[in-house]
């Protein structure tokens, strides 16, 4: 097995290498001249936001609209009135009865880009168990009670309550399709309720799909220990996306980045974007890796971020262009969009480009 693994990884990942520019960059950083990276990663921002908002979440009851509530709390994302009405449920979609907890699937909605499922797990004896999502070790567990030291706080919580840890995970399967990537986040409150939001990146057709949810509860430790598994299948409506393509083909002033195209796709639940751009000429910023997309941020006219940070990803095409996708905190197509980018080296360059979206683009 050894040789197979070595050969497969070395061949398949052979594109990874450190070039002279990266070496130079690391050495400059090591000398204390410049930091390797300037920006705070989206994940770190989200983690900080989560920590701050967990305290607020403690006071909140599980509303009839978990997704809307969680998106609003964690990402500042407003879900459109149309989306709100699709999300509103008189009763939960389904419930799964584990020996020690009840898992309630509150919402299951989809658009052509993704399946969204929200769930809350309620321990039957709340003092007996502490819940977590995918992580199965105390040091991986989510923040509790607003602490910035999750492992320590988790250990303290276990000692204080005498509870044991259980992990709960959900897997989704859309009939006839392979399971794709996605995102997930969770919030464990002091009532012992674990709230989870899952987004899976499917390419779906409008209509009704059959979704099977595999829910598994297991003990932390070596792998999945003592699993308790339940599966349910349910119908989910897929909402149609409305698309608007804007051919830009313009340099962001002050930078060397040429934006080629912006595609916006409006869903009842979010606004997806896909931006194609490239370095227009050799990037002279020695801290910038030409193989990695510079972070372009979408901002509103007032300069506030409107990029939600949810579901972002990027690919690099063979011709060198980057295709970066994500979601915006917009309910409807805007009249204009502002893209902001800055160099990694301090005081080198900073650019902003305003793009007008005419109704004809729709």
């Amino acid at each position: 097995m050894k040789h197979e693994i070595q050969d497969a990884l070395n061949r398949r990942l052979s594109g990874f290498h450190m070039d002279e520019e990266q070496i130079h960059r690391v050495l400059r950083t090591a000398r204390g001249e410049k930091p390797v990276k300037k920006k705070i990663s989206a994940g770190l921002v989200l983690a900080i936001v989560l920590i701050l908002l967990t305290v607020l979440a403690v006071a909140a009851e599980i509303s009839g609209n978990v997704l809307s509530d969680m998106y609003q709390r964690y990402f500042g994302v407003q879900i459109s009135p149309e989306g709100q009405s699709l999300l509103r449920r008189e009763k939960p979609v389904a419930a799964i009865d584990f020996k020690e907890a009840t898992l309630v699937i509150e919402q299951a909605v989809a658009d052509e880009n993704q399946l969204l499922v929200t769930a809350t797990v309620l321990p039957k004896e709340k003092s007996n168990i502490l819940l977590a999502m995918e992580p199965t070790q105390p040091e991986d567990a989510m923040q509790i009670n607003g602490s910035i030291h999750p492992a320590e706080t988790y250990q303290q919580a276990m000692e204080r309550t005498g509870a044991v840890m259980k992990a709960v995970s959900l897997d989704f399967q859309v009939e006839g399709m392979e399971t794709p990537g996605g995102h997930a986040f969770e919030n464990l409150d002091e009532q012992g309720r674990l709230r989870m939001v899952f987004g899976a990146d499917y390419a779906l057709q409008p209509g009704t799909i059959q979704v099977t949810v595999h829910a598994i509860m297991f003990e932390p430790g070596e792998g999945v220990a003592n699993p308790e598994t339940h599966s349910i299948t349910m119908p989910v409506q897929v909402a149609k996306l409305i698309e608007k393509t804007v051919k830009v083909d313009a340099l962001i002033p002050g930078s060397k980045i040429r934006v080629e195209e912006i595609i916006l796709r409006k869903s009842p639940f979010t606004m997806y974007y896909q931006t194609t751009y490239r370095y227009d000429e050799k990037m002279e910023d020695s801290l910038m890796n030409p193989l990695v997309p510079p972070r372009i941020t979408y901002v509103g006219r007032n300069g506030h971020w409107i990029d939600s940070g949810v579901g972002s990803g990027s690919t690099r095409k063979k011709d060198g262009a980057f295709v970066v996708s994500g979601t915006l905190n917009l309910q409807d197509f805007p009249e204009e969009l502002w893209l902001e980018v800055e160099g990694t080296e301090p005081n080198t360059w900073h650019g902003q480009l305003g793009v007008h979206l005419s109704p004809a683009d729709e």
Binding site: M1, K2, H3, E4, I5, Q6, D7, A8, L9, N10, R11, R12, L13, S14, G15, F16, H17, M18, Q22, I23, R25, V26, L27, T29, A30, R31, V36, K37, S41, A42, G43, L44, L46, A47, L50, E134, T136, Q137, E139, D140, M142, P150, D171, T179, P180, G181, G182, H183, A184, F185, A200, E222, G223, N289, L291, V292, G313, S314, T315, R316
Partner: protein
């Protein structure tokens, strides 16, 4: 094998050499570990910055590769804690990886994805043992485990990999 410290060479020259020799390996290790290209590139760079800063304390008790791997594994753990949202993906893909510089086969994709989809505790030991070729004692030191703990994880990791690789799995461990 212990590293040979070359008299007269400073940390900067040594770290530059290590980046040329081991940079690709460390990047691959970080990518499979973190399953996110952007994070992996940041983690690999941080690994070498830490190596630079700790160069004077490197006594050559282990090989340079083992020493770097230990720093990289710890750096990845830090990144995972800080970036849990990005790392917590339902399933990984190879879409983001740079274009391969050598030809590869379909089964390379299958095996790479199978390793990347292992739970982290098994992924780490499988990578360090099968990819880097480290003995259990070194892995135990890097991951702060007992040797028997390493063997347990290796065994379970192998068992989890095997079904995904049945078409061409060779039992020659």
């Amino acid at each position: 094998m212990a590293a040979v410290l070359v008299p007269g060479r400073n940390a900067e020259e040594e770290i530059a050499r290590l980046m040329r020799e081991q940079g690709g390996y460390i990047l691959r290790l970080c990518f499979v570990n973190l399953r996110d290209r952007g994070l992996a590139e940041e983690a690999a760079q941080d690994t070498f910055v830490k190596a630079y800063k700790g160069w004077q304390s490197f006594r050559g008790d282990s090989s340079e590769k083992t020493w770097l791997s230990r720093i990289a594994v710890n750096t990845c753990q830090d990144y995972r804690r800080r970036n849990w949202f990005r790392v917590l993906k339902a399933q990984v893909s190879l879409q983001d990886v740079p274009e391969a510089s050598v030809p590869f086969e379909e089964r390379d994709d299958t095996l790479t994805l199978a390793v990347m989809n292992l739970p982290r505790r098994y992924r780490e030991v499988i990578l360090l043992h099968y990819y880097q070729g480290l003995p259990a004692a070194d892995i135990a030191e890097i991951l702060n485990l007992t040797a028997s703990g390493v063997y347990t994880r290796l065994r379970r990791g192998q068992a989890m990999l095997k079904p995904a690789l049945e078409r061409w799995y060779l039992d020659e461990t």
